[in-house]
Symmetry: D2
Subunit: 391 residues, 4 copies
């Protein structure tokens, strides 16, 4: 209460949004929809919510999309909406990974901005094509590495950039879960099925699903570029086709070193994403499950517990906060910040300008970096855990 929380800007008119994927039984589609609503910048008006046309229509009806804008395929949606005077301005792609790139291409080519779930594609080659296409079309492309929307992550990034930690030496990123400890993909979990299926997920299992989040978060906060990595991917659960545990050593340009661990078989962990960064002058620690806190220590001084919108909050955290300190914001608010930033970028693009410098979101280049990370890790692991260049 002591500090006024950042005011989310108000809209003129809302941006017309379509969605690909996210029909009945999906998880992340609903998250995107809430995230899009929270700051009131988008209006969901069209959808190709399922590859099954019946399900697509039923799902659309359920969430209030008009029947004539409930499409059986994303191609149809892109074509039809591009032709409408009141057609969608942006699309959210929330399908399994293998559909991301084909869908993104169609919409970009149709002149529609794209908000896309991660990992961006199933191969780095596809990702490179997308980078080119975004450049060519000039459309906004936002990748929903949603953890970058947490206020204390924004602050952590700003603190590193401002030199509060000195030169970074060490980066420790981890993302343990336990939901694939047993073979959930055989028990009817739709979420488990596609994530453990190489055809829909690509070459990476846990590394693509959560490893990329940890990797992206470390890069987002530290600004470091990876030089090479050494990875060991393991499939602990018999019969599973993709990795369910990832252990990686990282070497960053400039000499910093990192460790990254992601696992979906670490019993007792729900979504244990954690980032720790240590430099010559200070250290930072942040945990996703308790996202309103950021631990900061200057070498030789007592540890500080910085809180979102509390006395130690920086403007970077305030800017993306909605409520005063002490009232926790969570996962959906962080996700909403990605949408709010997307809205700012889209409005600027629509006016032919650039968004303000403070507008930050994960880009198509971040998506490419993620795919290169996955491919390097898979290659390193297959080659017997040897150092492998990234990108």
């Amino acid at each position: 209460m002591t500090i006024e929380a950042g005011k989310q800007e108000t809209q003129g008119s809302r941006i017309r949004l379509g969605m690909v994927g996210g029909g009945q039984g999906a998880f992340i589609g609903g998250v995107h929809r809430i995230a899009a609503r929270i700051d009131d910048q988008f209006e969901l008006v069209a959808g190709a919510l399922s590859s099954d046309p019946e399900r697509a229509k039923a799902s659309a009806a359920e969430i209030g999309i008009a029947p004539d804008r409930a499409y059986g395929s994303f191609e149809e949606m892109a074509r039809t909406e591009a032709a409408r005077p009141d057609g969608i301005e942006a699309v959210a792609i929330v399908t399994p990974n293998n559909v991301h790139a084909p869908a993104a291409k169609v919409f970009l080519n149709a002149g529609i901005h794209v908000i896309c779930d991660k990992p961006m594609t199933t191969t780095a080659a596809e990702a490179e094509e997308l980078v080119e296409l975004v450049k060519k079309t000039g459309k906004v492309f936002v990748l929903t590495h949603n953890y970058t929307g947490y206020p204390m992550i924004r602050q952590a990034r700003a603190m590193v950039e401002a030199g509060e930690l000195g030169d970074i030496r060490l980066v420790k990123a981890e993302y343990p879960q336990d939901w694939l400890t047993e073979r959930a993909e055989l028990s009817g979990s739709k979420q488990a099925e596609w994530r453990t299926d190489p055809k829909r997920s690509g070459a990476g299992g846990s590394i693509g699903d959560i490893g990329t989040h940890a990797y992206n978060l470390a890069a987002f906060v530290t600004g470091l570029e990876t030089q090479e990595l050494l990875a060991q991917l393991t499939t602990f659960v018999p019969g599973r086709l993709l990795d369910d545990d990832v252990q990686i050593l990282l070497r960053y340009k400039g000499g910093a070193r990192g460790m990254l661990w992601a696992s979906q078989v670490a019993v007792g962990n729900e979504n244990g994403l954690k980032l720790r960064v240590y430099g010559t002058k200070g250290g930072l620690e942040w945990t996703q499950a308790d996202p309103n806190y950021l631990w900061f220590t200057r070498f030789g001084e007592p540890k500080q517990l910085l809180t979102r919108a509390g006395a130690g909050a920086w403007p970077h955290a305030q800017r993306v906060s909605r409520v005063p300190g002490g009232h926790p914001e969570g996962y959906l608010e962080g996700f909403a910040t990605i949408y709010a930033e997307a809205a700012r970028a889209i409005r600027a693009a629509n006016m032919g300008t650039k968004p303000d410098a403070e507008v930050i979101y994960p880009t198509v280049e971040d998506g490419l970096a993620g795919m290169r990370f996955i491919e390097a890790a898979v290659a390193s692991s297959r080659a017997g855990n040897v150092w492998t260049r990234v990108g």
Copy 2:
């Protein structure tokens, strides 16, 4: 991820909502608006956002309310909207306390459902009138004691009701803050100004602002009725007109005993709302700043950390959850649950039925209980801290 989070129901058409208060510079109005959007059950179409007509219009324009539905007074809004075929079905009252009752009466009398901030009124007498009026009009009245919307609070209530704690012996509720440690009301804080002004807040300062939250939460979780209380209200900051610290002993019907502490001068506390309940068989602990956790101990067994949507989550918590375990939900989601419940009650009322039994929200009777609590506490304190009947 292991457990599917509760699906928030989808809307047919959205409920048309108006708002009284919540213009530029306000805090809680914006919170109500986000909360109303999260589950997509309401559409804000009209407002009397400020008692200053200019500010009211400017504020309305900012948040996309059409100019012809931006009113200069709540009386005008009630009259005009009631007469429109597409007029508001419900109104959110988010003004300083002294406006709650007058506004609520006008809207109830106009046949419009009411969602009202707390404390409900400035006197118990006013509150009694509102109880009668709600009974008479048959309209839905929802009091936004928002903490009752947190999933683990729903679970705590269900666990007590199911007898998991045995007979309740002890209730410890506390709500320390520190933002009024110095005289913020003289430094231009609009929030501090009205909260420390008896004309706008009523007879209680911290007791009305946060003490009622703690009191309501204890009652919500335990189901206990207060018999009598003994209170000591203190104004620590020189020159302040209302209490900034409250210490209360409680006696519940049936023999349980409680302590309640609320303070706005406890340095180092942002919003330290905490509830602990102990019975003959078990104990519960919950902290608002970390709302996705609920500590539960059966006597003679190890302490358990129950998590929203985790392995120990009950359907009562799942039902009001939006995302899987491990991804924190926060203050806005808890607040949104009050709105989602309000929507269910309003839709039922509109159809002349009752909502399902599982639909829970703080009622006008809870608002009356809160006012009786404040008045008893003020009376007890003035009489030299003696036991005083509540209600």
Copy 3:
């Protein structure tokens, strides 16, 4: 490791110590013995370990006390030891409460320093006699309110004294346990038996056993003197003769206000002693179960986590630390600090001088304050929970 821990001073020769109580089946006697050994200032050479002479001898043999110095009664021990040239210089009294005063008197009169467990006596009148006797004999009297030996409690006291918190407004002390949730005194627990027996414990149950600890700790840290209190003592467990729950409002001289809660029926609490102090400039929080941490907030600044021997440690904490920061010290070390301070006081007294100003320990006056607290609380509770002067 960054800061050298305080060196405990080395002994010339060890102080010869006797013990009253602490035989087989006792709890606190063994704790005293370890505490006396940790800093190597005492040598246990005599004991009247039980009121049962057989048990006394068997107990003595078990812990290496020579048979001729294993006494059947404390009177015999005092008489015989006082007459030996190598007789004990100090005695530790670790019996149920009702034996404290009689034993202390005998030893003080025999010219032997006394280290006595708490609560000091069973009545304030007895306590006053002891105060007089200590004055008259000039012997050292140390009351083992052991929590005052924790390094971060020493630091908290020093910080308050140095004005880091400004003027103290609020004191919150609590000590919940759960071990008497059911009627353990009927199940053969020797510890439960005497603590719930008015003949051995005095007029207070939980208030004497743990309430006095909380009360003493608050006074130790804040330096505040109590003016009056208002207490509600409850016996929740049917058939129990003494209170098992205590709720108290406190008024300190100078205007600070406090709340104290002690309970032995709060399920899920082992030894939840916690102290919070709030002043005009800052706030402190400390929890016994995690004693190496002290939370400190200056109003308007981020919260700091001070650690024993870490960067924010004051000399007052360092002085009573044995190992570097990050290696936890616990209950026994805190207790040992009381013995180390006792040794310093005894060595000074033996040389006819005063110990250094930095030597701090709970005194016979503190014991009297504790008894006055118990009596006032019992009186207030019996009178219907009215304000009652303390002392």
Copy 4:
């Protein structure tokens, strides 16, 4: 209080102990002395406390060792004490690493039991010789990997052994500190000086000082044997001669995989030793700074917080506890448990028997395993971070 803490056995007569190292300015010597006193099984009667004879004598006088048993060298002490009828039965070696092996050999050959600090030697070859010598002499050799003495670590080991976690898949051990973030070895810190000097520490810096602790703890709890490792040792601080950060991948026999990180430049960490173990059925987490807690999750059930001597404590934890639950035991008590176990082993050896099966302490073979770990890690790192067999 609900559960009686384990009674530490009482002594007949104390074991006569000598000490090598631990004079003025040392850190770990004082820790050993307190640890030896806590359970009253040893009496320190002789010492070669410094390689500087003057300092050796002054140090001895300070801690009450008789002048005629204050030796200028450990060779002299071994020879002289072995010849005395009341000579020392055991010796504690608490010097820099390079003295461990030479001293241990002399005492073992003199028929004196050895308690030795870690890492055991400076090379694996030396360690192998010690293994042989212990076998040949039949003397007790105890390595003070003190963290194995913590009660909840004992419980963790027992739980793994009992199959509570199923088959172990993952082991995560870490030990971050920050005290060598800057070049403390140039600022007069005696502790920093020898630890960063290859002549006194051997080939490993942080890996020997703290990495071996983490490695040993993982092995102690899981019972797993390492097959191979892949290590990256880094020296971040310019000019330093040994590693100050260690990142290691581990492959255990049977298929489990591990990660180990130790660092002395991770700002904000005092002694952040942490162990996490995940199996097919459950997971465990333990943190040295909060050692009385053990987190345990059975897959699909809520997380449990097990506490030392609380409701979920196993006899293995109780056996090495001294005080009831809720009163924290710390570093010194864990260390004392190593001494108590050593006493049991020594008494058994003195009687020509074996200690009870429940007596557990780190052995000379554990010391050899530690040296092989260091050498494999150094070799792996030098060879470009390749998989390297251990032992």
